[in-house]
Amino acid sequence: MNRRRQPQRTPPPVTSGSEALEGDIVLQELEGDLSLCLWKTARTVRLWAELPPELQSRAFSPPSYAERISQIGRLELDADLREALETAAEVLRGGAGRAAAVSDACGRISRWAEAQGSTGTALELAQAAALSQGRQAALGLEVARIAAERGEIARAESWYRQAIFTARQTRDWTSFATAFMGQGKLHFRRGDATAARTSFLRALRISRRHSLGQLAAEACHRILEVAILARRASEVDRYARAALQAYRGNREGLIGLARTLALYLVERGFHAEARQLFQLIPEDAGKPADRLSRVSALAQAGAALGDVELYGATMETLRALLETPELDGSTASWIGLLRAAAWAADSAAAETLEPRARAAAEQLGDSDALEEIAWLADPGAEPPDLKIRRASASLRSLVTDLEEALERSARPG
């Protein structure tokens, strides 16, 4: 049967937040004439991009271009940023046939702003880049990524959807799979395991179909995380193996996988296997929050298994880690450390850790966590139940395989 192919459509992406004036954030993040120049750039490119092509050449009057160029000339800038601002200004003289160059220039300005820590400015410029080259899915992905990092979830979600739509049309399979992956991460962040799993499975299917090995590995890894969250034990083993196979020599990916699996093992009470895995993860791997989760899990394993040496060494590492400015560990990591301190009857550590754990839980408004923290930190309370279980043969063989893969990836060449 011939199925008529219907044109696919998607709603326009969300292009603004709750700011009073368009592009307001640029003026809030930066100062002086540079901020004004960036604000004008973002606004004029967007105005130009949103016009029908036949009106674009009539959008601005010729003196505006000269005025902008002279404004840029008065700024003290590095050569690349200056060149990008001048290229983006070409919309002021019609910008005919220059959409790709203007979009590229906005992308460069966005990356510059992001490197300065001005993520709102980066978002505005990335959006201007994406709007002026509507057929480039990768540009939409960039907007979605920055919006997600800024916590603008609805905007990020709408740009991921836009990227999926454009990537499908232009057969850009890498962006297609990456957009599903990003969408899945957003659902995961919201705690919607079902929707996250669906998106990750789509990403996995696309990456496998188009031989995108590392994306397939990441998709398997993410499905593994969802399976852990949803307590689907059979999927944990299946997708951990699939990710292990797909990561091959990608050391960073393997370390991430080992961390995910080891945290799962700790949670299930498989402390011996968790210890085995965590000892393979370099102490300085990942962000401070990742390092804290490693220390938390190792401390639990050490305390649970009565490995005094491991517990002591972990607490030494923790002391150094606590010196890190703006250490933003997860509540689970802090609670894990408190649990380890309770098992090891280490009241001094519990006293030091309690305010940090409380602050993390209060920030999230997590009342259950606050209750648990109060109980764990109470020196008179009974220590929490200690379950030490032995992992299944299949899980143990997975740990061994991962161990071997990590060792192989550490070898030079």
């Binding site: 004036l21 002086g32 979830i153 905007r155």
Partner: protein, 278 residues
């Protein structure tokens, strides 16, 4: 649904801008009126429909440039629901002025240095349509609301500002009404017609909170045939009349009821429930 009147009140002495606004008014069918000072503008705004759009020179009558645009703030304090665009030459050192204008409630800025053509000015004025309601809703809606729902709501605020209907919303989004209905269902929103009815209620609630507005003015500005139709709609959607709403904070009450309606629509949609539960 009645045609929404669209007056454009201008307090600006720039001859080029005035000429461009005349051209735009003809093109976008706006009822253009020029005023000479802030006092006259206050009078005109008081007698104009709440759907009026105002373009001002924020420094008109001020002793010097670079001082706080106090008159704009005063205008917006008196008529908080008014849609005001400021037209100023943005030059070195203007950042603080722009930020102050945004803080005082100006929704759009026309840069007279670079945006000096009818196309650019027209585009800026077009962008003011529904902007206030959209910003208010952005702040009132739950942060967990999906991007799909927000996209549809943003388009709906523009359509309501123009006095449009369900089919206009579909046209604005460049899809058939059937596709739009499907999107609304997927985004756990009410069907398009009902969604627009809610947007009108929310727009009216914002105007009810503005003490300078009469009920018949609010009704006409939101596309109701008469103030009795508006009262009837308010009772049907919010279970309260305008006086009661004004006392309690009409927009807060209406947005709360809208969020509640979204939750109910979501839990009663069997198709949605089936999809979520897998």
């Amino acid at each position: 649904m009645q045609q929404v009147p669209r007056p454009l009140l201008v307090l600006h002495k720039d001859p080029a801008l005035r000429e461009q606004l005349q051209e735009i008014a003809l093109d976008q069918r706006l009822e253009l009126a020029f005023v000479d000072d802030w006092g006259t503008l206050h009078e005109q705004v008081r007698s104009a429909p709440a759907s009026a759009l105002v373009v001002v020179d924020p420094f008109e009558g001020a002793p010097a440039r670079g001082i706080a645009p106090a008159e704009v703030a005063r205008l917006l304090q008196r008529f908080p629901s008014l849609t005001v665009a400021a037209a100023v030459p943005v030059r070195s050192g203007s950042e603080a002025d722009i930020r102050r204008l945004g803080e005082s409630g100006v929704v759009e800025l026309i840069d007279l240095v670079e945006e000096s053509t009818p196309v650019a000015v027209g585009q800026r004025l077009q962008a003011t349509r529904g902007r206030r309601l959209r910003t208010l809703l952005d702040r009132a809606l739950p942060p967990r609301m999906s991007g799909l729902a927000r996209s549809i709501i943003a388009a709906a605020t523009e359509v309501v500002a123009d006095g449009g209907q369900g089919s206009d919303l579909a046209e604005r989004m460049n899809v058939t009404t059937r596709t739009l209905s499907r999107w609304c269902r997927r985004a756990a929103l009410p069907p398009p017609k009902r969604l627009l009815a809610w947007m009108r209620i929310l727009a009216a609630a914002d105007l009810i909170d503005d003490p300078g507005r009469t009920m018949s003015d609010v009704a006409a500005s939101c596309g109701y045939a008469a103030d009795t139709s508006l009262r009837h709609a308010l009772r049907a959607f919010l279970g309260r009349g305008p006086r009661e709403l004004r006392e309690q904070g009409a927009f807060a009450a209406a947005s709360e009821a809208f969020v509640q309606a979204l939750i109910e629509a979501r839990s009663s949609d069997k198709r949605y429930r089936r999809k979520v539960n897998g």
